[in-house]
Amino acid sequence: MKNFQSLKFLDLFRGLFERFGINYPIMRKILAVKFTMDGRRTPTIFNQQQAKKKKKAEENGFIKSLGIYGLFSIILIPFVLLGNSLFYQMSIFYGVVMFLVMTSMISDFSNVLLDVRDKGILLTKPVDKKTLNVAKTIHICIYLFFLTVALTALPIIVGTYKNGLLFFLLALVGLILVDLFIVVLTAIIYYFILRFFDGEKLKDIINYVQIGLSITIAVGYQLLARAFNIVDLNITFSPSWWQFFLPPIWFGAPFELLLRQHTSMYLVIFSLLALVIPIIAIFIYVRMMPTFERNLQKLSNESGTSRRIERKWKTWLISRLSRNREERVFFRFADHMMRNEREFRLKVYPSLGLSLVFPFIFMFNEIQQNSFEHLAASKWYLAIYFSTMMIPNAVVMLKFSGKYKGAWVFKTTPLESLAPLTSAALKVFIINLFLPVYVILGAVFIGIFGVKVIDDVLVVFVTAILYTVICSNYLKGTLPFSESFEDAQQSGGVKMILAFFFIGIFAGIHFAATLIPYGVMSYFILLLAVVWVAWRQAYLKIWDV
C-alpha cells in the first residue's frame, strides 16, 4: 500500500489524537485502506467518459476529479470580482459551493457514511469504536478539504486580490462552517430517510442525486464560457425575512456587514446564524450518531414489503405494442430491469436530462443575438432534433447490466429466437425513457412556436424511432443486459460520429419538407411506412442472434 501524503501530514497531529485516547497506528491503517479503496472508485463526474484502461498505474480517480472542480470554479470568479452587491454575490457563491459540495458528497461519499461492512470487519478485531468513528470522520474531512479547496481556491485568490485580506479570512471561516453544516445536514437527511424508509429507498435517492450531479456538471460546462454574460450583477438585493430559510444567504451576510460596513438587523442575524447553526448541528450530530448507526442496519436487511402494482395502462400498452407472447414477456422484463437497475440509470438518465436541455441551449444563443419574436417565427424548432442525440448512447447501454451474469437464463430456456428480447428492450427504451422527455420538450416547443409545429414534432418522434432502429445495429451480435458495465467503452469514437451524422441528414430532409406545401404531412406518412418496414426487417436480420 502506498504511503499517502495526507497521512504523513496527519502524523504531525499524532500526539493530539493519542491524548484523546485514540489508537493512532490503527486509525492510520484504517485510513490507508480507505484511501486505497477510494482510488479504485470512479467519481460520478467521470461517469460519462469512463474509459476503462486496464493495467494502468493506479491513480486516484478522486484526485483527478478535483481538476474538473478546479475548472468549474471559473464560474464563480465573476461573483467575487464584478458587481456591487457583495451580499448577493457571496450568497450565490456559497449557494453554488454548497450545492456542488453536497451533491458530490452524496454521490461519491455515501459509501463512507453508509458502509455497513465496517462494523462486521473492523469491530470484530481489536479496534475500539472511538478510533473507528474518528477514522471515519477524518476520512470525510480530508475529502471535503480537497474538494472545497479545488472548488474555491481560484475565486478566493481573485476575491482577496480585489477585496483585501479580511475577505480571505471571512471566506475561510465561512467555508469551514459550510463544510461542517453540509456533513451534518447530509447525515441528518440520511437519518430521516432511513428512519421512515428502507435502505433500498436511500440507495435510490442517492442514485438520483448522482444523476442530478452529472446533469448539472454537463449543463454547467455549457454555461461556463458564458458565465460573465449571464450573470446580472447589478441586481438590487436587500435582506428580508424569507431569506432566513436559505442557508447560503447567512454565509453571504458577513461580507456585506464587515467589508461594506452595511449594518442592518437582518445582516447581523444572518451572520450569527452562519456561525451558530453549524456548531449546534455538530452537537445534534454527535447525539444522533448511535441511533443513526442502528438505523444503518436497515441497509443490510432486506425488507421486501413494498410491492409494485402493475398499472392497468401498462398491461394494455404491452398488449398493444407487442406482437407475440414472447415479446410481451420480455417487455415486462426489460421494463423491470431498466427501472430497477441503478447503474443503468446512472449511465443513461443524465443523457436524458441533457437531451431535455440541449435544444434550449442552442436556442438561447439565438435569443441573445436576435429577439424572442424572431426566434418564434423562425425554423429553430428543428433544434428539437438535438434531443435525439442521446439515442445512440442509450441504445448501446442496453446491452450492459450490473447483473449481466443472470443472462444465462436466455440460453437455458426454450426460446426459438432472441429477437423479441431486443425488440422489447428497444420499445421499453422508447416508451419509458425517450417518450417522457420528448413529451415535455414537444409541449414546450409547441408553446414557443405555436400549434403549427405539431406535425413537425410528430415527425421528429417517428424519426427518433427510426433512428433507434438504425442505432440498434450497434447491438448486433449481443443480447440486452448481458455484458458487464466494466466492458463499456468510451461512448465517443467514429461510430458515434457516424450516428450523429444521421441526425443531420434527417434534419436536412425535414427542413426540405417544410419548404414544400403539405411536405411535412407527406413526409410523416412516408416515415411511418419506413419505420414499419424497418422494424420488421431489423427484427429478422439484426436482432436475431
Binding site: M1, I26, K29, A32, V33, T36, M37, R40, R41, R117, K119, G120, I121, L122, L123, T124, K125, P126, V127, D128, K129
Partner: protein, 262 residues
C-alpha cells in the same frame, strides 16, 4: 469430559430484545478450552445474535457474558486479540487485493507487516491461491473468497474461533483440508464455536452440540448423549425432532404436487 477445565466462554441468563421481540430468552452456557461446539438451530433461532454479542457487536443485552474471564462490553476490546471470526455473509473489502486485505487485518491484530505478509502468502499457497494473491478479491469466486475469510480469521493464531457457515462455497477437497485443520487446532487446545445448517458436518466435527430454538437452548451434549436421549439415528433427525418439525413429508408432497399441477 476429557478437556482441561479452563473456562473460555461463560454466558449467564443472556437475554436480548429487538424492539418488542425477544430473540434470546435466557441462555446459559459454559464452554471449556479445547471444545468444538456445534451451534445449531433453525433460521431465526438466535444463533447469529449470540455470536454477535460475544464479538461485542451487540451491546443492548441483559445477562452476563464473559470471554477468557473478561466481561464483554463495548469498552473492552482486548479480548478480541485472541478471537478469530468467519462471518456467515462473506463481507470483506473486496476492492482490495488479498495481499492488501490480509496484511491490513493482521496489522489490526497488532502484527507487523512483513510477518503477516509472509504468513498470509504461505497460507494462500496452501489453499492453492498463490497466483491471485495480488488480484482484487472482487474478481474471486465464492470459494476463493471464503478461503480468504478463513485465512483472515486465523492469521493471528487465535485461541477462540467463531465460524458461521465456514464451508459455504468450498469444494469437497478443501472441505476435507479445513475439517482436518479444525481437528488439529482443537487438539492443540483451541476452542471452536461452529455454527452451521449442514448437520452431517456438525455431527462429525463437534464434540459438543448445542441446539437453540426460539431463543432458548433445547439440547446440550455430545452427539452420543443426544442420540441416547432422543432415540434417533442422525443429527438431522434429532434436529427435526427437537425443533418439532415433523411435517417435512407433507410439505414435500405439497411442493411436488404444485410443481406437477393438477
Amino acid at each position: 469430559m476429557e478437556t482441561i477445565d479452563e473456562v473460555i466462554v461463560a454466558i449467564k441468563d443472556l437475554e436480548m430484545h429487538y424492539g418488542v421481540k425477544q430473540v434470546l430468552k435466557g441462555i446459559n452456557l459454559t464452554v471449556y478450552r479445547g471444545q468444538i461446539i456445534g451451534y445449531i438451530g433453525p433460521n431465526g433461532a438466535g444463533k447469529s445474535t449470540t455470536i454477535k454479542i460475544m464479538l461485542g457487536l451487540e451491546s443492548d443485552y441483559y445477562g452476563k457474558v464473559e470471554i477468557f474471564g473478561e466481561k464483554v462490553s463495548e469498552k473492552n476490546m482486548e479480548y478480541k486479540r485472541k478471537i478469530g471470526y468467519v462471518p456467515e455473509i462473506a463481507e470483506l473489502y473486496d476492492n482490495l487485493t488479498a495481499q492488501e486485505y490480509l496484511t491490513f487485518i493482521g496489522e489490526l491484530y497488532g502484527m507487523d507487516v512483513e510477518t503477516v505478509n509472509e504468513k498470509a502468502e504461505k497460507l494462500m499457497r496452501v489453499f492453492g491461491l498463490e497466483n491471485v494473491y495480488h488480484s482484487r478479491i472482487s474478481s474471486y469466486s465464492k470459494g476463493m473468497r471464503q478461503k480468504v475469510l478463513i485465512i483472515s480469521s486465523l492469521l493471528h493464531n487465535p485461541d477462540l474461533l467463531f465460524l458461521d457457515e465456514p464451508l459455504s462455497g468450498l469444494d469437497a477437497n478443501s472441505v476435507m483440508v479445513f475439517k482436518e485443520i479444525l481437528a488439529i487446532l482443537a487438539s492443540q487446545g483451541k476452542t471452536i464455536f461452529y455454527s452451521s445448517h449442514i448437520m452431517d458436518v456438525v455431527e462429525k466435527i463437534s464434540n459438543r452440540i448445542i441446539l437453540i430454538k426460539d431463543g432458548s437452548i433445547v439440547a446440550d451434549g455430545s452427539f452420543n448423549e443426544l442420540k441416547e436421549q432422543n432415540k434417533e439415528g442422525t443429527l438431522e433427525q434429532i434436529f427435526n425432532q427437537l425443533t418439532g418439525f415433523n411435517e417435512y413429508k407433507g410439505l414435500a408432497e405439497e411442493f411436488v404436487s404444485i410443481v406437477q399441477g393438477d
